[in-house]
Symmetry: C2
Subunit: 792 residues, 2 copies
């Protein structure tokens, strides 16, 4: 087919935009039921302590208090990854971080529940706490968890692809650097909330702000000891996720349990402070990178060591570990690559995925080091990236299949648009530009639990009146995935987006979708929607062809009609066509499913696995840095992003701008740090983040490469464009004032310290100086199939 | 297959019973939305009048009043049958009955809206009103409607099957009688209510207490001038329908229009008085019956003339007319049959279908006359029915295909259980027993608008966790249709009813079902559900057979497992089986559809059409009648009912008892009558109906005939058992005190008048004495294919 598109490529508002703008959208905390009770969690004031006893008599005697719950009431553990199910609804035996939920109370209103918390009498026996990676790596008498059998080591990974020793021998120049990326949090506008409703026959419905209702559905059934078929999970409108709502949480278990225990609907809404405890934000990561290059800049080997501060639970940590170490090869031809990764448990809120998951940390390290390498050997930051840029239809050293790839075009276009090359050597002191690139997955290749089933499924129903209903398990967390579903189906059926009735994120009403994480929804659920829509279009086309006495291949669907391509007078309204098709073929129900090609290779069992495709980005950030105050003002950001095909450019640009905002926050001010056991900044007032007033102009350049496996050629834009922004900003600061800040956030204090150091004749570098002592295992060495062609 | 059933035949509580008993069930009036407005309708105080003008300035000036609406704002007419779309959202130009909606007001609360109604100033010019059938049959200067071209005659039908003249010539004895059945109303506990919600893009959702969301969906789209795809109709829990909520109503149009006009959700709840205006209850019907019999009681011919008082609108009137005249042949072998039917418009609330639709009237007439004929020729009431009882697999004189038929067994079993034959001649004065039979459709053979599509469709989804979701457009109005759906699917998949997640009666979420009327849901939607469930069971069985290495035909589904029939140790849990099947065949979606066999013959275009099957009933009523007060006490009722197969005996018995209750109400006290233009009893205090305190013991006898076309052999129980109850009661009164009351309700006054007449040497009959003067057209005579075999 070579038709022009009806809708694809047009900039269209989101289908849920009006509901959100007018306040019609129902978020979880807007939901209530008659007789609903309110739940609050009592949280640990200790970072690490044994629970000796809990006295709750006074709590239960309070007027308005209905019931309480302790950890012993729900003993089945859970956790997003089957390899680290190390959480309980409420702490059993001990607490692992300040904020760890210890007990719950349910009362007739929230204030009563809140007040009753103070009446619990918990006796703790404090334990030594592990507050840094360095502490956690040491042998521990009482580790935070014992299940890994390695003290506070959650996971260690050591992989070698090719032979780095030979690679370094071939290099003309080698650098070793140490980088640190502070942990940060998602800062969704919507706090986590859940409403659990006990249904007849002991069944349960949970309305909850979750990015992954399917996984939560499985976890809830397991923890509550119920058949999955008796549990329903619904995600209403979500006020932002960014990875922070993509696993089962204790408050969801507690509300569900208490709803069943009391027989009443139970609502829980976390306070902003509690969200800081619950978050699963970006891992603070210390990274040692050693890279060898030829005189022209060609990389010969790279060795990449990562220390992840995991906090108190497994969360997505195993996946995060792989991502930090393994996703960096997607941008450059690195012939020999070795990565060591260790993730530790610490007595802090658990870290997990935040936009970009754990890729931004490694990307930050490598893009800063490339900037230095380029300078070392006297080529431009653009040049070193072009020389090493990975090519379409190739395989990375660590077996990642690259199909479409617009990296080179991204580099060239962002360079041209921003005038980077000229500015880089010409801007006056105090002004600078920085360059960086990035790549990101279009969905994880493997589900988090082993199964051979579809990752995304869609049902499409068309009725005799032309009404189209789409059922998708996917969750729109603000990224616009519902808009994409509507767009794809409307495109194929020749309708408008608002003609598609959307039912989503409801484990009873919709088929399975793995969730909104790893930039998978447009790609995977989009493909499923296309399959379902094409099925029904074909059915309808056959009926119309019979009616009009034409070849069904000659029919096009557009403007709410089915018409002959070259003779548009031969046409039938879509609704009539549906009735004809129903008469011919019965009830019009299409089904679509998508699962990624099996490319897992050495990643099998990691919960990660190679993605079916990668998006590419390049960014330039221009800054003004005041050497007196250390303040950085971002003047402008240019991002060129290989989106495959922009299904809806407005939506893609929105995602790019959101990524820029979030990347600049990480780069300049965000850090979730501790003052010993306590969070330093557990409020929106104290935790500094970018606001609309801080935002610079953003120029988004859409690069299209038409990914063969993508829905109409699309890839992803939800996370990838964040990656180059952080290092480009830091590189720009160097370009402006000549100091290397090898750590984000780049705060004025750090800049001033580095300027001071430089003024005193130092290197002008700010950053960590010591790698923790840790003996990684002998790397698992995988034979190098460098010349293999990617599978189709 | 020769397996024992898992669930079928067991008496199980309804799936929605708990929700209703605990108050969890959300009826339409429980629904509210933020910013919701309240609507009230201004109604005509005149039975027939021109509207000269409406002044609404003062209404709009009231604080809290948001807007008003007049008839001219929605000019597209509607009506349940396409042949008589004679209603408007609000009266245009004239009013046709006291209570006719003239204007609407929408305000911030109901009290404000109610109070504002008094501020409309409407100028009327009264017209001569037509308050009786006799009036309406006369030529009219200003008829109520003009569209039929026949004054106030809505529809006249004259049909002859065989040759009645010859038939009467062959008779040994002929009787002619005149019977009158007063109009009555449904008396649902839930008043009609609607909540209309304006959606984005000008779309609309209407929550409404409707038995027919699909028809309403079509009508709303048409009247509002919107594509059907932009309108969604949802029926929440319904507090009884009985035919009174089975067509589009003006309040639904008005609320919808005002929601779109104001941009706010609009709720309207009719008051009890307004329900009496709106009702569409049983037609008051005058019937002249002439029947010839041989000496042994064999019927030779019957001529049946019907005058239906239709009220102000068409409603289902054309169908009602056919039913009154044409459904009486389903119980008896009548070789020659002629029926004349006329339905008139009168200035009263429109009549339509009430439980049994228009069959109870004709049944009443014929069963009373048979009682008299039996006495005339000296045989017993049981004997005359046995002699004439229709046989299985036969065709009635008027082309109705009879398949399974347990009439004879019903007659014999109810006779035996009640000891009727002995009591009939032996009870003392003041005590009596009456006998009657009946038959009813299992769904209308034709939809109300012509289309070749399924009458019922079901989608079934099974997820990898074993969760089963059923999507059905059908509406559970309390009759238990959702329970039947759950039962059928659970039976086939070896689950429990509560394992099935039910989504129903939502035009966006569910496929099409014609609605809950004509006892069609169990039969038609049940068949669709079975088809969908069997599809998926086969898919699952194949996967399990592969896994267990057995023949898929050897597998049974029970107790939540799939197991080999003769080796139950070979088994797999249902949820695991579903995951295997999904892995093998993709997303598990089944679809089912049912449409009745094409038997329409001479009924094509009538909106009626022969049913695919008929249920049969026989009833005995035992009474004590006090000759001093005229009071009738019902001592006991026996009903034998041919249900085909009782899927859930508890549900069937519930339906039988409900029918007895409603039949006794019609028989003894219910009448919606007028005092000139005004309803006599427009309140629950004034309108007399049966209560639980009046109810006699009921003995239900289930007769099973395993209908080949029925779902697992089932037929219907929602309406059929009402039919014999009314005439059996009246026959019992005769048996008790020797007076014939040829009119229901049989009030004490009528009994006393008849006793008085008898005491004075009269016949002791109470009833109408004159047939209106009306010249019916020459009957359409249809050749008699008496010996034809029914089609399969």
């Amino acid at each position: 087919m070579n038709e022009s598109f009806n809708l694809i490529g047009k900039s269209l508002p989101k289908v849920d935009g009006l509901s959100k703008a007018t306040g019609k959208a129902q978020y979880t905390s807007d939901i209530s039921f008659p007789g609903m009770l309110y739940c609050k969690l009592l949280r640990s004031p200790f970072g690490h302590a044994k629970i000796i006893g809990i006295d709750y008599d006074e709590v239960l005697s309070q007027p308005g208090v209905i019931d309480i719950m302790l950890g012993g009431e729900l003993t089945i553990p859970f956790g997003i990854l089957p390899v680290s199910e190390d959480e309980h609804a409420l702490a059993i035996g001990k607490v692992r971080y300040v904020g760890d939920p210890v007990a719950a109370v349910v009362a007739v209103d929230e204030a009563t529940a809140e007040a009753a918390l103070a009446l619990f009498k918990v006796e703790y026996e404090p334990l030594p706490a592990f507050l840094t990676v360095e502490d956690a790596l040491l042998p521990a008498a009482e580790p935070i968890h014992t299940y890994t059998g390695k003290g506070n080591i959650h996971r260690e990974i050591a992989l070698e692809f090719g032979d780095v020793e030979t690679g370094f021998n071939e290099a003309d120049h080698i650098r070793e650097d140490l980088f640190f990326y502070s942990g940060s949090t998602h800062m969704c506008l919507e706090e986590h909330a859940s409403v659990a409703v006990p249904e007849n026959y002991g069944h349960l419905t949970l309305y909850t702000s979750s990015q992954t209702p399917h996984y939560l559905h499985r976890a809830l059934a397991k923890v509550l000891g119920k058949p999955a078929a008796h549990v329903r999970v619904v995600s209403p409108f979500i006020g932002g996720g960014f990875g922070g709502k993509s696993e089962p949480f204790s408050h969801e278990m507690v509300a569900s349990y208490l709803a069943l225990k009391t027989g009443c609907p139970v609502k829980i809404t976390l306070t902003r402070e509690e969200v800081f405890y619950t978050h699963r934000g970006r891992h603070a990561t210390l990274m040692a990178v050693k890279t060898g290059v030829k005189r022209d800049g060609t990389i010969t080997a790279m060795q990449f060591t990562n220390f992840l501060d995991g906090g108190a639970h497994g969360s997505f940590g195993v996946a995060s570990s792989y991502y930090t170490g393994n996703l960096q090869t997607t941008t450059y031809k690195i012939p020999n690559y070795k990565t060591d990764i260790v993730r530790c448990f610490t007595n802090k809120p658990a870290a997990g995925p935040k936009r970009g998951h754990a890729a931004p940390q490694g990307r930050f390290a490598i893009e800063l080091q490339l900037d230095k390498l380029a300078e070392d050997i006297g080529i431009s930051p653009v040049e070193i990236r072009k020389i090493n840029a990975i090519e379409p239809n190739s395989l990375t050293v660590n077996y990642l299949r690259v199909t479409s790839c617009g990296l080179l075009e991204c580099i060239e276009r962002v360079d041209r648009a921003s005038d980077f090359t000229a500015k880089h050597s010409a801007l006056p002191y105090g002004k600078g530009v920085g360059f960086a690139v990035g790549a990101y997955m279009c969905g994880a290749g493997l589900p988090i639990y082993f199964n051979p089933l579809d990752h995304s499924q869609v049902i499409l129903k068309i009725d005799r009146g032309g009404g189209v209903t789409l059922y998708s398990g996917s969750t729109d967390i603000g990224q616009g995935s519902l808009t994409v579903h509507a767009l794809l189906v409307a495109e194929i059926l020749g309708l408008q987006m608002e003609d598609i009735y959307l039912v989503a994120a409801d484990t009873a009403l919709t088929p399975v979708d793995m969730g909104s994480y790893s930039s998978r929804v447009t790609f995977m659920s989009g493909n499923a929607a296309i399959q379902a829509a094409r099925q029904l279009r074909d059915t309808i086309a056959q009926a119309v062809a019979e009616k009009l006495q034409v070849d069904s291949q000659s029919l096009v669907f557009k403007e709410g009609k089915v018409m002959e391509r070259n003779n548009p007078d031969k046409q039938i309204p879509f609704s009539t066509a549906c009735a004809l098709a129903e008469a011919r073929s019965g009830l019009l129900v299409g089904r679509g499913g998508y699962k990624p090609p099996d490319l897992a290779g050495p990643y099998r069992g990691s919960g990660v696995g190679p993605s079916p495709a990668y998006s590419y980005s390049a960014a330039v950030v221009e800054v003004t840095c005041d050497p007196v105050t250390g303040l950085v003002k971002v003047e402008k950001v240019w991002v060129a992003h290989d989106i495959g095909i922009a299904l809806n450019p407005l939506n893609v640009i929105g995602q790019i701008e959101g990524n820029v905002y979030m990347g600049l926050g990480d780069a300049l001010m965000e850090e979730q740090t501790m003052r010993r056991h306590l969070l330093k900044a557990p409020s929106m007032l104290d935790y500094k983040t970018f606001t609309t007033l801080d935002m610079p102009p953003v120029e988004s350049i859409l690069v299209e490469t038409a990914e063969a496996e993508g829905p109409f050629g699309a890839k992803e834009a939800g996370q990838g464009p964040l990656l180059p922004v952080v290092p480009a900003l830091v590189n720009a600061v160097y370009n402006a004032v000549g100091v290397r800040i090898d750590e984000v956030p780049v705060t004025p204090e750090k800049i001033l310290k580095a300027l001071d150091d430089k003024a005193k004749g130092g290197s002008g570098r700010y950053g960590r100086k010591m790698v923790p002592q840790y003996k990684f295992p002998k790397p698992q060495r995988v034979p190098r199939p460098w010349d293999d062609q990617p599978k189709d």
